[in-house]
């Protein structure tokens, strides 16, 4: 690996880790209701919101009440977004006069944003009004992220509390997440992004004459449409809230969305910022910061080697490029390696690192074409999603998913040392194992079954809406086409939203099945998580002794990493063998 790559990676990790402690501690204060500066400034707003909504912020909820609140809130959010997308033609802030979004697409998009997936079957600049973007997608970007954080906080309370029936108040957790964490951070990031050239306006799209017109004589392209809009505000929360839904179709590779290396660095930082800091929040709230550090260490132990692997794979280039006499060695004038599908202003390291960050966290935004990665370079982001989005993962959801892996690791480890397993003093019993198994089980089932249905026929070809002819949906059938479909379901079945590209998914089959996968992956997991939170909160806490297995040591971190990797590998190796692994072997054997 080049020195440049090493430097960029190290810088990224150092800045990220430096932010973990202060931000994590701040979030813990927010959720614990301990004083912090912002509550004095915005406290009146918080209180008046509760008054307005008729919420008693002092009332605590049982897990069932909490789960009901989550479902009702998200259900209403879904209906509102769906209505907005269908009615956008009649509503203001629509300079391009976009009509209603088709029902299947509107359904898919609403589910996608409510579930914090941000899978995009639509093209932002070609189908959505500014109002839909801001009032619909933007709002869901905030509240879906805040929902995940709230559920996590409820689970942490379950671990920390003793003999308690309640796990907090969803409305308070939700409001505080948005008001004190997501809004201030987004505001700062949006302003910095604007300074880098990200657009933020309500103007209609502009047309620019090309200096160097291209194309054959008959259809020369001499003019280009430049999409406008309130992009910076949307992009800030898209990155911070592990949403990933781009304002423009090309997402963060679009120059108006991610213009400079600095904006790229900041956006990449924003992707992992809160998921990483939540580990520390967890440690503080659980009363043992070592526990938070251990989980962060486990995440890094998976993330760093895999990110390095992607960088190395992309930098190594492909045998096909080599055969065509293209130099793939990095030099001062050339990035070398596999530059296909990558922006020249980011290069290989930043594209590969971004690909790993966006799939490790369930963000899903892209600054390069994952479809054009080398097979191995594409396998890693794919596998990062298939690990269940627990390596950083989504807002809150990554950590609560990881905590379920901890439950399984603690269970196995407890057996191996001859004690009924316990975590943070809470005994892990039949009920917890049932829920943890369910949570670990569901995403792989969604991915595998979804892919199986798609490759059996319905996902391979569709009748074109305008021409009526049947066309293949994938531009590259074979092992690569299989990878594309597997990637699509891995992304939605784990609420990531990252797209491999190369597969046209804006057809009813995909819009519906992917929406089902997204819904199940989100809410079918949230309910058992809250059930575990409720069950743990009710338990007494067993005191530590020499016979208690410590869960903050490198040994336990190692075990946790093994469990995550083993479950991920054992579940997906057969499928991966038919996709990227075959591709890689075919490529290297040429």
């Amino acid at each position: 690996m080049s020195t440049n790559a090493c430097l960029q990676l190290s810088l990224y990790l150092v800045v990220l880790l430096a932010c973990v402690k202060p931000l994590g501690a701040y979030m813990a204060r927010v959720y614990q209701g301990r004083p912090f500066v912002l509550d004095r400034v915005l406290g009146w707003l918080e209180r008046s919101l509760y008054r307005l909504a008729g919420v008693n912020d002092q009332a605590e909820m049982t897990w069932r009440q909490y789960a009901t609140a989550v479902l009702v809130f998200n259900g209403i959010g879904f209906l509102a977004l769906y209505a907005l997308l269908r009615l956008q033609g009649f509503l203001p802030l629509n300079p391009q006069k976009f009509g209603a979004v088709r029902p299947d697409l509107a359904f898919n998009t609403s589910v996608s944003f409510v579930t914090n997936t941000n899978w995009q079957s639509y093209g932002g600049e070609s189908s959505l009004s500014y109002l839909s973007q801001m009032l619909g997608l933007g709002v869901q970007n905030f509240v879906s992220a805040a929902t995940g954080m709230s559920v996590l906080v409820a689970l942490i309370r379950g671990l920390a509390r003793r003999s308690s029936e309640t796990i907090g108040n969803f409305w308070v957790d939700l409001t505080r997440s948005v008001l004190y964490i997501l809004l201030p951070l987004s505001l700062v990031l949006a302003l910095v992004l604007v300074s880098q050239g990200v657009v933020q306006n309500f103007r209609p799209y502009e047309r620019a004459s090309l200096i160097d017109s291209s194309g054959a004589e008959a259809n020369t392209v001499a003019e280009q449409t430049l999409p406008m809009g309130p992009a910076a505000s949307q992009i800030a929360i898209k990155q911070l809230g592990t949403n990933g839904g781009g304002f423009f179709n090309a997402n963060s590779s679009h120059p108006y969305e991610n213009p400079t290396p600095l904006s790229n660095f900041l956006q990449m930082l924003a992707i992992l910022l809160i998921p990483a800091a939540l580990c520390h929040t967890f440690g503080v709230m659980a009363g043992d910061t070592r526990q938070g550090r251990a989980i962060l260490a486990a995440m890094l132990a998976v993330f760093v080697p895999l990110a390095l692997g992607t960088v190395v794979a992309e930098q190594a280039g492909t045998s096909i490029l080599a055969k065509n006499g293209i130099s793939q060695r990095a030099s001062s004038s050339s990035p070398g390696g596999n530059m296909e599908g990558k922006e020249t202003r980011f290069g290989i390291t930043d594209s590969a690192l971004w690909a790993c960050a966006t799939t490790a966290a369930s963000n899903g935004c892209v600054n390069s074409m994952h479809d054009s990665f080398t097979p191995l370079g594409g396998l890693i982001p794919l596998w990062l999603m298939q690990l269940g989005e627990v390596v950083f993962g989504g807002m809150g959801s990554g950590l609560y998913g990881m905590l379920m892996f901890v439950v399984v690791a603690v269970f196995v480890a407890g057996l191996m040392v001859g004690r009924t397993p316990e975590y943070l003093g809470k005994k892990i019993e039949v009920y917890e194992m049932k829920m943890a198994s369910l949570i670990i089980l569901i995403p792989p089932l969604l991915v595998l079954i979804g892919t199986a249905v798609a490759v059996s026929g319905p996902g391979l070809a569709a009748r074109d809406r305008d021409t009526g002819t049947v066309a293949a949906l994938s531009n590259t059938p074979g092992a690569h086409g299989f990878t594309e479909i597997l990637y699509t379901y891995s992304s939605t079945g784990n609420n990531n939203g990252s797209a491999f590209s190369g597969l046209s998914t804006d057809v009813p089959f995909y819009n519906l099945t992917l929406a089902v996968a997204m819904l199940a992956a989100r809410f079918w997991l949230i309910i058992p998580i809250l059930a575990v939170a409720g069950s743990l909160a009710r338990k007494k806490s067993a005191p530590q002794s020499a016979g208690t297995l410590p869960t903050h040591t490198p040994l336990f971190v190692g075990l946790l990493v093994c469990v995550v990797l083993l479950v991920g590998a054992l579940t997906f190796v057969p499928a991966l063998a038919l996709g990227p692994i075959v591709e890689q072997l075919q490529m290297t054997s040429h």
Binding site: G418, V430, P477, K540, A542, S545, L570, P574, A575, S589
Partner: protein, 690 residues
Amino acid sequence: MAATSKSRRLFDSSLVRQALAGSFRKLDPRRQVRNPVMFTVFVGSLLTSCLGIESLLFGGHESAGFVLSISAWLWFTLIFANFAEALAEGRGKAQADTLRKMKRDVEAKRLDAPDRNSACRTMLASQLRKGDVVLVETGDLVPADGEVIEGVASVDESAITGESAPVIRESGGDRSSVTGGTRVLSDWLIVRVSTNPGEAFLDRMIALVEGAKRQKTPNEIALDILLAALTIVFLVACTTLLPFSKYSVQTAGQGHPITISVVVALLVCLIPTTIGGLLSAIGIAGMDRMIRSNVIATSGRAVEAAGDVDVLLLDKTGTITLGNRQAVEFIPAPGVDLDALVDVAQLASLADETPEGRSIVVLAKEKYGLRGRNVHELGATFVPFSAQTRLSGVQLDGREIRKGETEAVEAFVRQHGGQTASEVRRAAEEIAKRGGTPLVVAEGGNALGVVHLKDIVKGGIKERFVQLRRMGIKTVMITGDNPLTAAAIAAEAGVDDFLAQATPEAKLKMIRSYQAEGRLVAMTGDGTNDSPALAQADVAVAMNSGTQAAKEAGNMVDLDSNPTKLIEIVEIGKQLLMTRGALTTFSLANDVAKYFAVIPAAFASTYPVLGRLNVMRLTTPESAVMSAVIFNALIIVMLIPLALRGVSYRPVGAERLLRDHMLVYGLGGLFTPFIGIKVVDLFLFAVGLT
């Protein structure tokens, strides 16, 4: 009896024969469905058998021989797992049978009223009901468990405890319970039957080792859930390979889609059959180990809880100290010669047959060279201890020699017109403060000095407590002594805490407060007044010599009535969990190698390039699949000894234990199958099966 059972070999030939028969009987689908992992194998075996017969009759691109041999090995996998369970059951039952033999139906003499002279009817013991009153006379077998309501008798309990010395059973007090199957050697007893037939401890124990009736323990259920979840994941991962490979064949334009038989083979290799197949054997073997150490547990849950115990409440007497105190020092009163004191003290104790008295004679001989004398030759008269005087001693040629506790001797001295020196009193207090018992010796009006009697802490018990501490278990000594004495002994024995002047209420309160802190408490007890505490404790071991009430309150009965057994019980509990954990880890780690064997083989025709993943260089795709399946079946058999004996427990910290077990069973589980599968493949090649 205990000795023969302990030496029973793991693969005793008669047990193996029985187990073999049992392993086929257990193929009953109603039994298989209880275990989700093995039921999946069961369905797979049926499916491949049908496929094999189909291709035998109608042909297909897969050879019937291949499918049928896969099918045969899947059946073997099931049979091996059944064999493990049957063998474990057989061993447990053999142990129980030995105990049950003495429970053969004996005749009982039922009395109409609890009076020896009332009408007596002879009936079979199995017809007795709870509450019946029976007469047991010299030479009779006690027909059922019960409580002595009248009489005193010596009883031979060797059949249950292995201890040959007869014990006294009498009405009232802590020695009032009798166990069915023991024999009355002298005198007679009237016993009130306390259990209905089939409910006695022995029957409960036998039920626990019989797989069909065995209740799953909570930990077993939790593990079952995890294994079932993994099975579902693998089931989906394998069955989705059918459409995946069909798509691959279509787009690659070559080869055949994966066959159902290979999918089933892969599935069976991947699902955790090793632990799934051995799970119930491990549980039964744990119960069996309890029985082997002469402990009858009334539930599997109790055995598991034993492994989790945080706090051990141990009775001082008998567990921590030897049952009796021993003389360790003579302290003369001022102006009294030491030799004179030793001489008088020895005279006072010569006829005293209590362990304390004997220990004074022994000390006088060993430390002061004073040989024992015969009381009768001396012409002395023994004055036994009485509750009124609280003194004992001898009358010798008009000399009145007495020994006893300070106040009693002081009173005696005063009676004889003497005065006890304040130094003597102080010496006595000093001894008490250090945890000893002072015994003052006097002759007439002279208090000659003090004998220091000391509680002797059992050899090796201190090291035992250090081990327990390393296991994370806190030891608490329970004693009726005063706090000073208790503290001294506690310090000497190295227990973590003590409860002095313990009353049943204080014990109960202590258990509750530990439990409120979230700890699991284990204790032993024998008296009726222990029952509330026993009922409250998480692991409660009643002594077999104890009262029926104590036995009913506890969840284990120690046939040897040995309070130190608690430590062994904890180890057995831990061993049980560790064996499950070790085999689960091993089973999962195995899967990596199986993928390397089966995946390249399964897709060899579509993507020959995947052959580069065949790192074991297995001969052919067929032999690769076969080798994985055969290895998967054989590993179950090879791990039966481990499952039955259990992973050995060492008292080291949790962290160290986890590291060692991860290395052995995790890393070992990763690499073993690479070698195993290769060996099987080479064998298949050598005998020309591939």
